[in-house]
């Protein structure tokens, strides 16, 4: 049976793991939680369920951050995940929601165009005109549904939404209720309701959180992966997962090439070579782990469809160049410099050098 959908939700992909964890979970659970907090941590960081089912790691990194995030949700405080682009904020948020509420689908994508009606509730105007204001004439949002059912709702890119709209959340977060003044009633949140928001702390200037709202969130900052090994591990794992779910034709293992991608990304991101000896220009883009993953996937796709079935410098080069050069002037200079001073002289990188030269 093939699934028509391009991507399945976390709770579907990992349904087996979630079930195994839930079955063997004897610890106390907060009301309306599918798992105990400890089991949620295990689900995210990997390990073994009590019955021995292996649990894969969804997040690679500092255990204490995830523990803080889960403990926050267990205290019914809202959670704000901050971080640079591509530090797995949405990924963590999705998995937290899947593990806690069994669904990661209650999602509001916040943009500059998001208005209060998309957060709070809207009106079904036909019904409103015909019958006047009533509960039935309300158009519910993911937030109101989550409140009614006691589940997690996710707000993506919270700071991209206007400040006045953001502040709609204040009462919901502190009083756990959403007044509907038109009907002189309110929607009270059931236990288990909570909010996980993500925001990018690089361009927080867009719509900075008001301090009133900020105070209602516990903030966990997700850092960029600390070491080359850690980052390579993440990229390898995600490339494998995405490629498989896209049903890309299988290819030879590309571990070596992935290491090169991550090395290049890290060096350009930090503005120095891994051994710290050479200083480099940094690129204007953030060159996040997420971008490294997408370079890996595209290289896989081009190798499988147009190449000889193995990822090599030829399939890597166009993707790498495209990922690095976001600003045609500044980034070209940075990449040129990097090619000449690092790639050309590095042992075993000469193929990459000539391939990238060709693209440039």
């Amino acid at each position: 049976m093939t699934d028509e959908r391009l991507r399945r939700g976390a709770e579907e992909i990992y349904a087996g793991e979630l079930e195994a964890l839930a079955k063997a979970d004897t610890r106390s659970r907060p009301e309306n939680w599918r798992l105990s907090p400890q089991a949620v941590v295990t689900y995210l960081l990997g390990g073994k369920a009590a019955d021995g089912t292996p649990i894969s790691a969804k997040y690679v990194g500092n255990r204490r951050l995830i523990e803080t995030a889960v403990a926050t949700l267990a205290t019914d405080r809202a959670l704000l995940l901050l971080g640079l682009p591509g530090t797995a904020k949405s990924w963590v948020s999705e998995h937290l929601a899947a593990a806690i509420s069994g669904s990661s689908q209650r999602l509001i994508q916040c943009t500059a165009g998001t208005d209060e009606n998309q957060i709070r509730y809207g009106w079904n105007y036909a019904l409103l005109l015909a019958k006047g204001p009533s509960i039935d004439a309300l158009v519910k949002t993911p937030l109101t549904r989550a409140m009614e059912e006691g589940t997690i709702v996710r707000l993506e890119e919270l700071t991209r939404m206007g400040s006045d709209v953001q502040d709609t959340l204040i009462t919901v977060l502190s009083e756990k209720t959403l007044p509907i003044p038109e009907l002189d009633t309110a929607i009270d949140a059931r236990r288990g309701f909570n909010v996980i928001a993500t925001a990018n702390n690089r361009d927080k200037g867009v719509n900075d959180l008001s301090s009133a709202l900020k105070r209602r969130f516990n903030v966990v900052v997700l850092p960029s992966p600390a070491t080359l090994e850690e980052e390579t591990g993440i990229v390898l794992k995600r490339v494998q997962e995405i490629g498989t779910s896209l049903s890309l034709p299988p290819i030879k293992p590309a571990d070596e090439e992935i290491v090169r991608i991550v090395t290049l990304f890290r060096e350009l991101r930090e503005g120095k070579t891994l051994n710290g000896k050479t200083k480099l220009k940094t690129s204007s883009g953030s060159l996040s782990t997420a971008e490294a993953i997408s370079v890996g996937v595209s290289a896989w796709a081009s190798a499988a469809h147009f190449g000889d079935g193995s990822v090599d410098a030829q399939s890597l080069a166009p993707n790498l160049v495209g990922a690095v050069i976001k600003d045609p002037v500044q980034d070209t200079v940075a990449l040129e410099e990097y090619l000449e001073s690092v790639v050309r002289t590095r042992d075993g990188w000469s193929d990459l050098y000539s391939a990238m030269r060709e693209v440039l």
């Binding site: 907090p37 516990n218 903030v219």
Partner: protein, 744 residues
């Protein structure tokens, strides 16, 4: 060992260990308490009972003849050793220190001591083996297990010592020196325990690092131990109590066992020491409230609501991690997520205040201190300056008696190299009644104080004697001047007078004019503006006079054949000296100086930069008429070596752009000279011009250019204004001249 001996292995500075120890002591009810520490301090223990003793404090033991050879043994409230002392003192039981004598450990060659590596607290390793990240979390669980039972406390210690014995067996062979130290220390300990068994009836409690317990338990023949400690070199030592600080506690010292976070340990101790153990929630909340307060003081909005949320999060994190009590890590993570909004900078700002702590201990008045420390304590009382660990800024107004007293103390301490305060701003020149100091007391200062004992038993004596001693060691004019100045601001006029005599003698021998020039400036400043202190005015005046005579006589010869760097320094010194000389206001000296300047312009052997600045000074003071200056200028600039001319010009322009902008004749002097050059000469002198003017900033250069573009203007002859057009001015003129110092 006999059954009477109870070995209690503790974790140094561990609050959890301290509370278990107290319970164990209650259960054992020992007739005598033995503590790991140097026996030389035995007599000092009784002072720990005094209510005026406020930890953190430390035992300071130093060699009699070399105070720099010293060890500190610090104690905080929550140190088990301190608690053992208090327990025994409260019940009148004797206390004995049983470690090896400080005299022996200090007699070791120093390099050996330094080489010894810090061993990670073995108890922390044990805690890790038991699945705890944090040593104190481990102890907390032990306390929980023991409950309120006293007997259980004893068995907990037994269990710990068994575990430690196993760890010790498993440990890799330590380096030779360290092993030897350990063998000696433990031999001393066993010998001291044997002594105690002889003199003491009843139970004996031995409080020592858990590491040593197994070694003390092993029976070793008396003769063997005696052989180990026989004939070890031994120094005579002195012991005293000194105040200690939290930040010093947080680094390794004394036992080699440091504490990561004294602030947190104190908080833990408040939990353990409370008669009724408070609720865990209250414990977490009070810590988060402390954090919030510190954040608010740093200007962060950290409302109480967030502190409550932080406490809730800490509890929930502890539950998630399976801990009964939130440990440091949980508290920190929780503060980070709620109070700091994930901002690591905020955390760094409050780290020292909250996690390390800023307590400074206090020593009771009755404690026999070194005479200097006692004197300092008296001064501290008189001046109301309290030793604090954090940097505090103190602004002093020297016109008030209190301000002057504080300043005197701080200056004197600086003279005996006890830099409690750092002078960061003194109103130099502009009126010297204000001083800004940055104060910070660090325990090492106690050692420095002990070192100063060789100079005297009061701070005043020591400061005066050390100043004179240093003055006698040197013949450098600069050093002597600095010492005189320092002695004067420290209100040590006798010492200053003695130094003045020394400087006078040295000045005659001095070969370097620059030093002499520089020496005059601060002395004149002190004399002219006063330093709000008593001055040996006569001696100072005659010193300046004789220095000036030296300068005026020796400048020309001393300026011949100088290299470029020396002459650059000389030029600056001459400018400052000229200014100081005018302030000093002795007309015969001024005349002699100007004569010498004139000779220096004319002497071709004199370094060109010096000649340049001399001519300039003569022009500025109108000693030479413009025409004479102009002639001398062209002579120097024309003819021969363009490099020499360049350096001359640099010297001539060295006092900065401002005068040139204001002084039309000077500007035109240079302008005329430039215009008179032939083209090839002009091109040749361009680099040197550029070099001379490069010291001016861009704005001045632009203004200069505009001035030149304006062209020559008729000088307004201000002197020619009718003198008598304003009677009031006429009447005020003599006084005005006196104020401006234009009339001697």
């Amino acid at each position: 060992m006999e059954d009477r001996v109870h070995l209690l292995g503790i974790r140094h500075h561990g609050p959890g260990s301290a509370v278990l120890l107290r319970r164990a002591l209650d259960a054992i009810d020992p007739a005598c308490v033995l503590i790991e520490g140097p026996p030389e301090a035995d007599d000092l223990v009784r002072y720990a009972a005094g209510s005026a003793m406020k930890p953190p404090v430390a035992l300071l033991l130093h060699a009699n003849d070399d105070p720099n050879r010293a060890i500190f043994i610090p104690f905080a409230d929550f140190s088990p050793e301190w608690q053992a002392m208090r327990w025994a003192l409260d019940r009148g039981r004797p206390i004995r220190f049983i470690d090896w004598p400080a005299g022996v450990s200090l007699a070791e060659p120093r390099e050996d001591v330094r080489k010894i590596e810090y061993r990670a607290d073995p108890l922390d390793q044990l805690a890790q083996a038991a699945g705890y990240d944090d040593g104190e979390a481990f102890w907390d669980s032990l306390i929980e297990q023991a409950g309120g039972m006293q007997e259980a406390a004893i068995s907990t210690f037994a269990a710990i010592s068994n575990a430690m014995a196993m760890m010790r067996e498993a440990e890799q062979a330590a380096p030779e020196e360290e092993r030897l130290r350990e063998v000696r220390r433990e031999a001393f300990m066993r010998l001291n325990i044997r002594d105690a068994l002889k003199t003491c009836e009843g139970n004996i409690a031995v409080v020592c690092g858990a590491w040593h317990v197994s070694a003390l338990r092993t029976p070793v023949k008396l003769a063997e131990d005696k052989a180990v400690v026989k004939d070890l070199p031994r120094l005579k030592v002195q012991a005293t109590w000194v105040p200690w600080t939290d930040s010093r506690l947080s680094t390794r010292s004394g036992y080699g066992a440091g504490v990561l976070s004294p602030g947190w340990y104190r908080h833990l101790w408040s939990l353990y020491a409370a008669p009724q153990r408070p609720e865990v929630a209250a414990f977490a909340a009070s810590w988060q409230a402390k954090t919030a307060l510190a954040l608010r003081q740093e200007g962060y909005p950290a409302p109480t609501a967030s502190a409550i949320e932080a406490a809730r999060l800490a509890l929930s994190l502890a539950a998630l991690r399976g801990l009964a009590l939130p440990s440091l890590a949980e508290m920190r993570d929780a503060s980070m997520a709620t109070l700091c909004h994930g901002d690591a900078t905020a955390m760094t700002l409050i780290h020292h205040k909250v996690y390390v702590g800023e307590h400074v201990g206090e020593i009771g008045d009755d404690v026999p201190q070194m005479p200097l420390a006692r004197d300092l304590a008296l001064w501290q009382k008189r001046t109301r300056l309290k030793p604090e660990d954090a940097e505090t800024e103190v602004r002093l107004d020297l016109r008030s008696e209190a301000g002057l007293l504080k300043s005197t103390l701080l200056h004197r301490l600086a003279l005996i190299k006890v830099p409690w305060g750092k002078l960061i701003e003194a109103g130099e020149g502009r009126g010297t009644f204000r001083e800004v100091w940055m104060l910070r007391w660090v325990p090492e200062l106690s050692v420095a104080l002990a070192e100063a004992l060789i100079y005297g038993v009061t701070i005043e004596q020591a400061a005066a004697a050390s100043t004179v001693a240093r003055a006698k060691e040197t013949t450098s004019v600069a050093t002597l001047t600095e010492l005189i100045r320092a002695a004067l601001v420290a209100d040590l006029s006798d010492a200053a007078t003695e130094c003045i005599a020394l400087l006078q003698a040295a000045a005659i021998q001095a070969s370097d004019i620059t030093d002499l020039l520089r020496a005059v400036v601060p002395l004149v400043q002190v004399l002219r503006y006063g330093s709000a202190r008593k001055l040996p005015e006569e001696a100072l005046r005659s010193l300046i006079h004789s220095l000036c005579v030296e300068v005026n006589a020796g400048s020309r010869v001393g300026s011949q054949g100088l290299d470029e760097e020396t002459s650059r320094a000389r030029v600056q010194a001459m400018l400052a000296y000229d200014h100081a000389l005018t302030l000093f206001g002795d007309s015969s000296l001024i005349d002699a100086w100007r004569m010498e300047l004139g000779r220096m312009v004319k002497d071709e052997q004199v370094a060109p930069a010096v000649a340049g600045v001399s001519l300039r000074l003569l022009h500025d003071t109108r000693s030479w008429a413009l025409s004479v200056v102009s002639d001398a200028f062209s002579q120097q600039m024309s003819g021969g070596d363009p490099k020499r001319s360049g350096i001359f010009l640099e010297g001539f322009l060295s006092s900065g752009p401002e005068v040139m902008l204001q002084d039309q004749p000077l500007l035109h002097l240079i302008d005329d000279w430039l215009c008179s050059l032939r083209e090839e000469d002009f091109v040749e002198s361009l680099p040197l011009l550029r070099r001379s003017l490069s010291a001016f900033d861009a704005i001045s250069r632009r203004r200069l250019l505009e001035k030149v573009k304006e062209g020559k203007r008729e000088t307004v002859e201000t002197e020619q204004l009718p003198d008598n057009d304003n009677l009031a001015f006429q009447q005020a003129l003599p006084l005005l001249l006196q104020i401006l110092g234009m009339e001697p």
